[in-house]
């Protein structure tokens, strides 16, 4: 589903990501962990077609992000770590805008908005301005907008930050449902317990380079993911 081949991205002289390769297959939840500034967000943004990269290639379902960004974006949903949404819109107006851009039919959008909003307990607030939303509500709205067009690939940057326990649980359920339907998820997190329980595969990035990747069992071996991560960071 997502193929990252030798990705390299520089910011001026600094190499944020260097020669990074990984594959996310259909049905997989792929966790991406690393210290702050390791290059996680850069990799995720490059995969979502938001950032232009300097070297390598990224394919979504075999389509090059560099050559056909729109075709790739139609299959992707991206959720940033800090959901800055359009404060000047109401929640519903924002969802309708996203549905319009993804050309979701009238019937589908009505059903999906209704069920997702109900699930994330946002129905009663969709008519209010986004400027009046709390951080958690914005995060929920961003999640609903990401799921609205039923993406094949969901790319998320720290998706659990700001969510209440119920919403976090709902998101995990939704992630599994999406993967069971043949979709794939690539997300970054600092919550290693979540990664350990939720992910089929895990990759650890350090200073822009991939230091470890594989199935969750392969990566952690006989230790906990925390120990493996700290070892990779040279802390243990």
């Amino acid at each position: 589903m997502l193929q990252i081949e030798h990705l390299t991205k520089r910011y001026g002289e600094k190499k944020a990501v260097e020669d990074l390769s990984l594959h996310v297959r259909p049905g997989e939840i792929y966790g991406f962990i690393g210290h702050n500034g390791a290059g996680k967000t850069t990799t995720l943004k490059s995969a979502a077609g938001i950032l232009q990269f300097d070297g390598g290639e990224i394919f979504v379902n075999g389509v090059s992000v560099r050559k056909s960004p729109l075709a790739c974006k139609k299959q992707i949903a991206y959720l940033p770590d800090n959901p800055d949404l359009y404060d000047f819109m109401t929640g519903m107006r924002f969802l309708q805008f996203i549905a319009d851009v993804f050309e979701v039919s009238s019937k589908d959008r009505k059903e999906r908005i209704s069920s997702l909003a109900e699930e994330f307990a946002l129905t009663q607030d969709l008519g209010a301005q986004i400027s009046s939303y709390s951080h958690g509500m914005k995060q929920k709205l961003a999640i609903i907008s990401a799921l609205l067009h039923e993406p094949k690939l969901l790319i998320m940057d720290e998706p659990f930050v700001g969510l209440d326990p119920k919403a976090a649980h709902l998101l995990k359920v939704r992630m599994r449902v999406l993967c069971d339907r043949g979709g794939a998820i690539f997300f970054s997190t600092h919550v290693l317990e979540v990664a350990e329980k939720l992910c089929d595969k895990i990759a650890i990035i350090k200073d822009g380079r991939l230091v470890l990747s594989g199935t969750t069992d392969e990566v952690r071996g006989n230790s906990s993911l925390e120990e493996v991560f700290l070892q990779s960071e040279g802390e243990v």
Binding site: K45, A48, G49, I50, Q52, L70, A71, K73, K74, I76, A77, Y78, P80, N82, D84, L85, Y86, D87, F88, M89, T90, G91, M92, R93, Q96, F97, I98, A99, D100, V101, F102, E103, V104, S105, S106, R109, K110, I113, S114, T123, Q124, D125, L126, G127, A128, Q129, I130, S131, S132
Partner: protein, 518 residues
């Protein structure tokens, strides 16, 4: 601590003008040019007044201070609200060990500068004219020293009005509508006074004593300013002390409510289920609607970049109602009647050139740029939506105003059609130019939206480009009378069409690259 906060406050502005050496020199030149134009305007006004009031220096200064005060308040009130209460770094600063009153103090310095500049722009020429006519050094010195104190009065009024706007904004839903209504009311008053200036000036010179008495009775602070500026030590000291005390009082009072106002959630606090009856729209329409929603949701954006639309509409109505009066006015000046076709095209275009809606729309994406970036829409579609917003909003009122002028001045049919075509092409040309300037001079790191809307290099360059194009059009008509009206207008239509083609090409290449590199 104050130093650090001040540095932060001004670095925002400094970062915005972080241009190349050549660019900086150009901008300084541009500002000097604009400053010079305004200085000449106010020197003219001061000369008029000084002639009308030869023996009333205190009244002369009182009137000039009233003009300075009104200009300072008008230009500063909406940015005061945004600057004091709606800065994006409010929560960050409040989380630091900085007293809220100090944050307010630093923000008030920004407001002070915004009010002081227009005041100085009015009063410096007034003092210059006074100095030429009277060599009283003490008066000149007092008048100069009083400018910063008048700035304090403007600051106090702006802060009080900013508080009122914050208070009202929290309680009403259609903020933009009321903001436009208020501004239009103010403008109507301004033009009423402006058009009757001659009448008022003659009244002033014949009733100077009564007017002075009026100031003394009802506008005593300005009367005291006038007395102080014309050499009265007691008035000088009294005005300075009162202005300082007033601004201190305003700061103390606002400090009490600052925390509660900046931490209040804006928007509709009530839970509100949505009306889900919403027909699907095509991508271009959805993008255009997004631009429209943002434009009408922000009073700052609407007022600074869209006021010309309302003026054009009002002017059109007035022109239709007073067509006969306009015709006789144009006919009364022989040379003017020869250039009715220039007036009918230049006036609407000049007003339309104040609506640089596209230019700040790039910077206004700010930290929400990721949304458009992650969606399956092309950069060209996004830029087209921005361009369409300006064209769709500005073309109808510009054409209407132009049509009203053509009818009022009785321009021939074919010439009228050419004028309408010229106006339409100008609106398209100006929208494309504004967008290009917005793309070339973006600022995505603002902390309040007044910065990209009011203090943006892109907006300034767009306005200049629009005004210069119209000025060039009007000036060229003086030297091309041999061409005839219709060929002249068609020639300019051709020039604008070429300009549009060039800008379209630039936008689809350089513009798209600039957008994608943001």
């Amino acid at each position: 601590m104050i130093k650090a906060l001040l540095k932060k406050q001004f670095s925002e502005l400094a970062a915005f003008y972080s241009l190349s050496k050549k660019g900086k020199a150009g901008m300084i030149l541009l500002f000097c040019l604009l400053f010079a134009v305004y200085l000449v305007l106010f020197v003219g006004l001061s000369l008029f007044l000084a002639e009308a009031l030869p023996n009333h220096p205190s009244l002369y200064f009182a009137i000039m201070s009233l003009i300075a005060l009104m200009l300072g308040v008008f230009l500063g009130v909406f940015s005061t609200y945004a600057g004091l209460y709606r800065a994006k770094d409010n929560e960050l600063l409040l989380s630091l060990p900085v007293p809220p009153s100090l944050i307010l103090f630093v923000r008030m310095i920004g407001v002070y500068v915004t009010g002081l500049l227009p005041a100085a722009l009015v009063l410096l020429p007034a003092i210059f004219v006074f100095a030429v006519q009277s060599a009283d050094l003490l008066s000149i010195l007092f008048a100069l020293l009083l400018i910063p104190f008048l700035g304090l009065v403007i600051l106090s009024i702006n802060c009080a009005l900013g508080y009122l706007v914050a208070f009202v904004a929290d309680r009403i839903r259609h903020k933009s509508f009321f903001a436009v209504l208020f501004t239009l009311g103010f403008l109507a008053l301004y033009y009423l006074v402006y058009f009757r200036a001659n009448e008022y000036l003659s009244l002033l010179s014949s009733h100077a004593d009564e007017v002075e008495a009026f100031f003394r009775r009802f506008l005593f602070p300005l009367y005291a300013f006038g007395r102080g500026a014309s050499g009265d030590l007691l008035a000088f000291l009294g005005f300075s002390a009162c202005a300082a005390l007033l601004s201190f009082l305003v700061w103390t009072l606002l400090s009490r409510t600052f925390l509660s106002l900046v931490t209040k959630k804006r928007g509709d606090k009530k839970r509100r289920p949505a009306n889900d009856a919403h027909p699907p729209q095509s991508v271009p329409v959805a993008l255009l609607r997004r631009e429209l929603t943002r434009f009408f949701a922000s009073p700052t954006y609407l007022l600074n970049c869209g006021l010309g639309i309302f003026i054009l509409l009002l002017l059109s109505v007035l022109l239709f109602l007073r067509a006969g009066w306009v015709y006789s006015l144009v006919q009364s000046v022989p040379t003017l009647s020869d250039y009715a076709y220039v007036l009918s095209s230049a006036i609407p275009c000049m007003i339309a050139a104040t609506n640089a809606i596209c230019a700040p729309s790039i910077s206004l994406e700010g930290n929400r740029l990721w949304i458009l970036r992650s969606l399956p829409v092309t950069s060209k579609d996004i830029l087209r939506a921005k361009r369409r917003l300006q064209t769709f909003l500005c073309a109808p009122p510009t054409l209407l105003c132009s049509l009203a002028l053509c009818i009022a001045t009785k321009v021939q049919l074919w010439e009228s059609l050419a004028i309408l075509l010229f106006c339409l092409l100008f609106v398209i040309f100006f929208a494309e130019a504004s967008l290009l300037f917005g793309l070339l001079k973006p600022n995505l790191v603002w902390t309040n939206e007044a910065v990209p809307v009011k203090q943006s290099v892109g907006v300034l360059l767009s306005l200049l480009c629009g005004f210069l194009t119209v000025a060039l059009f009007a000036a060229s008509s003086l030297f091309t009378s041999f061409l005839g009206e219709l060929p002249f207008l068609l020639f300019w239509c051709f020039l604008l069409a070429m300009g549009i083609l060039l800008l379209t090409k630039l936008l689809s290449t350089k513009g798209v690259r600039a957008w994608e590199a943001l």
